[in-house]
Subunit: 254 residues, 8 copies
């Protein structure tokens, strides 16, 4: 029962004041239970729900994939293992797995891609995180330009791609070790740069802390940072910005 119906019943006298008062107290919250809320959010935002596969129990993961596929006609999961691919494949034969990005996806009718997000990575070892970002953004209907292996220790490789990078509505800069890529890109473009530190490195990289601090202290304007190795989070944010740039409407109000 929604609020309008309730008020009509009060007006008509078919619902007592006490009953109405009690119902209203609970309504705003109960009307937005967990699953329901997220369906609404997905509809509004144009971004379907996704799955963080890591650590999920086998049966649980299978049920989630079946449920979301049923509802949305497509599912994307991140940080999936080869084993998880095998078990989901038994119930959804056309599920696809990319061992580099660890994306486990069912996507029968890919969305049209709009706008442009550039995803840059510093080294080849950063590609798994960059691909998690790229494939997630594409799943959300974002056009992606992949610009990999353009670390600042060989600055000409990056400069050679300057025009492609500048055309993007938003740039995702993925880098481990010293993580300087985001700053150099931030100095080259006029649109937002989302920096993704990676855990690539050893010794004093301290699991990505080095790249994280570098990026937080960036001297360039327009750079913000997400968690270490969080390609998914960067893609979500980049897709939001890209959507604002292409002017797509979403139903923001409830």
């Amino acid at each position: 029962m929604d609020i309008r119906t309730l008020l009509e019943q009060v007006q008509e006298g078919t619902l007592s004041l006490d009953q109405a008062e009690q119902a209203l107290k609970d309504l705003p919250y109960e009307d937005m239970g967990y699953a329901k809320l997220d369906h609404h959010r997905a509809l509004r935002s144009g971004f379907p729900e996704t799955v963080f596969c890591q650590g999920k129990a086998d049966e649980h993961l299978i049920r989630i994939y079946e449920h979301l596929l049923d509802k949305n006609g497509a599912v994307l999961g991140t940080r999936a293992t080869a084993h998880q691919f095998e078990i989901v494949k038994e119930v959804i034969p056309d599920v696809q797995y990319d061992p580099i990005s660890r994306i486990l996806k069912v996507e029968r009718t890919p969305r049209p891609k709009k706008g442009c997000v550039a995803i840059c990575s510093a080294g080849t070892a950063d590609i798994p995180v960059a691909e998690e970002a790229a494939q997630t953004a594409e799943f959300f209907g974002t056009h992606v330009e992949r610009i990999y292996d353009v670390g600042v220790a060989g600055i000409h490789r990056l400069l050679a791609q300057r025009d492609r990078i500048r055309q993007a509505n938003c740039v995702v800069a993925v880098a481990g070790m010293e993580g300087a890529l985001a700053t150099v890109i931030g100095g080259l473009v006029e649109n937002p740069v989302i920096a993704v530190p990676t855990s690539v490195g050893y010794g004093a990289s301290f699991g990505g802390l080095s790249a994280l601090l570098t990026m937080l202290n960036s001297c360039a304007n327009g750079v913000s940072v997400v968690n270490i190795d969080n390609g998914y989070g960067a893609a979500y944010l980049a897709s939001q910005i890209n959507r604002l740039a292409v002017g797509e409407e979403t139903e923001q109000g409830e």
Copy 2:
């Protein structure tokens, strides 16, 4: 001399091959000396240059303000002291100083404000950073909604402002201590959230580290983080996103 002129002179034979070769080698860089480059950037981006006042020598600061006022007709500086206000005021009598945000500004013809960015702060102690963000964004021509003192320890204060927050193209969430504000807002809105940790707190806040880690580990989608107390950086990024949303043109190519 620009590239076209140079090539014309080669074509006409008024410039030797050796001279042309040498000039071309230097041109792309020398044509973009420090000051010049930044003038271009300001023109293209629509965001005039700003000044980080902290630690600047007195004479230096005065010269920079005079120079930028001359060029742009307006200047905004961050992290200025009352002393810096006094010395700049002697040469630019209409300079304005806000001791809360520590913004030192000359703005004779304020820009029209476009779009909407919501700037939320958790506690009253976070307001200096929030105001640095708000006044910077306004200086860049961004319409700002100030929503202060909505920390998550009293969640109803925040929920009561939900509609105002949802209308923004981008939300800046400023919080110290436990820094949870960004995540709760991230769960309420569909547009990007820029989280600004502040150094407000004591003990185990370790100068803002606590809020910084909280924000980097946010469970909400669409949240990214800038440096501790970096209200200026958040405002710059928010204004970029807002500009993309309102569809304003900038001259991106060179």
Copy 3:
């Protein structure tokens, strides 16, 4: 021999001054040897001894379970492995193992449950720690309300449970990553909140440090913190508070 008997023997002249002096010197300590002390503590507090299984040698663990079962008629162990379940089962066939909470328990006559403690968890990945807390509290005779998956990134899920949470004498808030759950709950209830940071997360969560710092810096009143992943410790404390609230008598003096 207790102090009274000793003094009577001195009065009666059956114990020499030298003998009495020597005995008194040792009595207060020797009367409280290790095992004895803990039996007393368990009797007084109403909370039977429990076992931290992690790292215990097989034979050692078996002996401890047999010994405690003999004495108390019930045993609860935390952080047990499936292997430990197998070996204890051989000697105590009705031992029960829960692979989620890793609780290994013999409980032939469950205690009646009194009062109310609410155990809330932010995400599904925090449930193992939440269940360690819940099952421990129940073993101690505490009534538990489980309220899981109410993380603050979707604040309505938590608000919908507000009434259940408010009825508790004490709330245990279990959360990893950004750990903001404790603060939001602290703002909603009037009774103590025990915050349990978990090691759930990756990157800048640094093994639970992020959630730990968040909780220590909570802006809400009435929030205190236990060690990372320490569901057991939170349950012990919550049961103490719950017992004070229901007014149960314990024999506090020696």
Copy 4:
């Protein structure tokens, strides 16, 4: 207008469905604006609002003291300076200041003290934090036993106070440097222990980090921890627990 009145007006036809629907949407939140909500909380909890004086502007602080005194007939502020005492004294002549605890208080009719909380400190340097806790708890109507200078490097001083400590419903253990006091007390009593690390120390105490980690890793049951130097927070929590133990009623529901 409350919900009942609104529903009556709908029933009576004096409020249209549209108007009612709009009002209901805002009501639950607007009815709980910041100030109002906190008045309610204070009434329900029996704990009046307090003031964190540190960093407050002079005029701001004076207004807050006048406002709260007007409403509650009493005000307690923590971390006040001698200067703040002077300026508040000009408008509230009977305000009292304790330079040790830095408590700035107006309390015309002290509340009756109930129950018992023991506040223990390890060294004399920890007394400022201990007194912040003690005076806050007393302001909240809690009976306090002060047991100071009982650090574990001279264990007999602590053991001599065992009986006084055991009678408390809750113990606050305040200690800097190695912070072992909480664990030893935790092993002596059956009620909750709230550990407050202090920033007392030098070198490897790292501003209280040493005591904080010690307390979080306590081997004793029933110990939880608040932020470094947070005597106020420990007192709030201790008073909540004490209130539960003495069985005082609070109006928990709305």
Copy 5:
């Protein structure tokens, strides 16, 4: 050739000035090559060389054991694995291995034990480190009193052993988690206390950092600290102090 012989040859004219000058330049150092120096040290100090087995290659370890057994008639190695026991056993059948302390030892004629060192441990999980210390000290000819499981969360267990602890020339206090044992012992005895933090614990123990900081910040006099889990180092130092106390002569000069 030693210095005296060389000088005699110069005096006798059988060694030229040039030859003598060259020889003297190298002598002080070459006379103290690696192996030789350490034999001397062992003879002087009364402490034979020991082996840090961890990470040693199989053949390497076997050769070292054979070599040291040949020279000293006894060998003690620390941090040995069961595998290392097996391979050494093939060539030295009477080698002994203790899986708790991970000591791998050949000791055909144990030394007489002198003086007294007390080795105390807080919990049963700290026993491996305590035993590494105890068996090393015994190998060095030190009489050891083992006093285990006397953690400060049950202070009476420790107090009951006060007399045994006070008789020692030096006390080794082994503790993980909150590491408070060293301070309490330091307050009870008049001789030096060597604190050994252990990596026992989880969460905010951060691999022993918590116990390490606690011990460095000890309020008790006469407490010093060695590296985390360094039972061997504590035993070496304790044996040095014990030797000074029993007045045993060593040949200190060269």
Copy 6:
């Protein structure tokens, strides 16, 4: 009343059983109240009580100096300021202050110095901590050899002092920055080395953390560590070891 007297009165019938029982319960602890206990300790150990002046209130400090001078005929305080010297001098005109070591001392009849402790410092900036150690040890009746400015970056300076260092019963090695002095000395001598990290340095010395970690990880045998800048603690421990070496008797039992 001591235990013997009490028992005699029971035997004589002048003390009832109830009275005796009550007295005995309190006696072991009350007989060792704070001040009394420490007097006993000082008598037993031969080391008089000392004062940590830092942060002490003026009146408090004066009273402590008068009290200890009265009792012991001598007082030593550490970390005193020039101001504290002035105020104590007003009541104790022969008090002496050393601005380098910040020792504030009254010592009318210096004790005879026994044994030998070598106190070595790496650089001139470490001398304040070295002198705190040296003067404290001398106050405790220990003979001290000062060997300053022998940092390992100029190894010959240290080697030239090898014989003086080897004659000591114990060596205190004081060093900041990279803190390598303790290890090199540890390799040269056969007696214990107490390492004192100092906060001397800048940048990556992180307030003494660098030297602290260096010393904890020392490869040399017989090295233990005290807190950063804790010259007093090193002197106390060195004097204990020196006392054991010279065979001085102390009354260890109660």
Copy 7:
């Protein structure tokens, strides 16, 4: 097409101004694509490209080895596994693998070795990193003196090698645990010292952090530091310095 050719065509009229302008815009960058640039760098520097094998996919690694062998006639890879040796061996039968240094190398005609770099290691456990440095430097044509097991806990071992160390143009000092080797060497020589902290150690070495901080805080002149375990990086730098010292020409300009 290079710049000269382009200009000639403009002069000759065979290239239009528009075409020339477009080509020039891209030339400076596209002329220096990734692979090409690095070939140039290798030619200029005299140091052939190397491979960081860790984490490389099997097929990828094989292709890289074949490609580089083809181009340079030699390949050196670091951090290779035994498995990687096996797979590369199948296609390049004369590839060599050293399990200590984990160097995987094809070197058919070793370069002549010039100049002198001394590589010193503190303990035997540091040898893998030292060998990575030594073999890399040799591959680059540098003469290497290996001076191992000269840790400062036995200073005479190091002093005995003083002359060999002093003859080097550059010294690489490899040490874990307390890492003091670099400082002592820095005080003995007049040429640069490159310090390599290693992750050798346990407990408070925190994965090499201890040695890293020690080396950064070195009191000796002429010491700089590379990342933990980065033997390769030290060798590259040492070979650069050695090359400058021997006066070998490289083609620095483009």
Copy 8:
């Protein structure tokens, strides 16, 4: 008496064997007392001794300046205050002070400058550290190219200086905040790069830690790091490398 003379006296019989033996034992060390050694080092290296002024007592500093000026005819001190300038000026009127670099220098006949070291800084706030490096290197006879304000957020400024940077025998890269300058330069040049992190920044720069970690994790070859703000250390090392490159002879042997 040197070794040769001593041996001659033995040969001639004017020195007894006992006397010779004793003399030889002390000679190698006593012949290299502190002051003497450093004079030798200065002579050999061509680098005169310098003074770290910070924290030096006034009289001490004056004496050191007089002494070194007397001996070397020139003195350079780093980290001097304006006050120190005043007091030294009273005794050495031609001493010069640069408030930016905080260099306090007497240099009556500047050395000829040889070779080339490029000193680059990222921002204007890094100039004090860069100037400490530049003026120190010049004092050591090194030709310096200053290339300031070439931070990587505006990469064209740096690229425009590429030729000047490439001509240097060694580059010093000074940068705070994100510290990426060293890596980008490392990718442009073939000679060594010495990275100097500065404490410039705020928030997550943690006093220079961010730049330090960035530089240690540099992806570019040939980059090593000195302590935060250590311009002096970088200049010393750069001058050593430059000297090797220009082939200047030093007397390395003793």
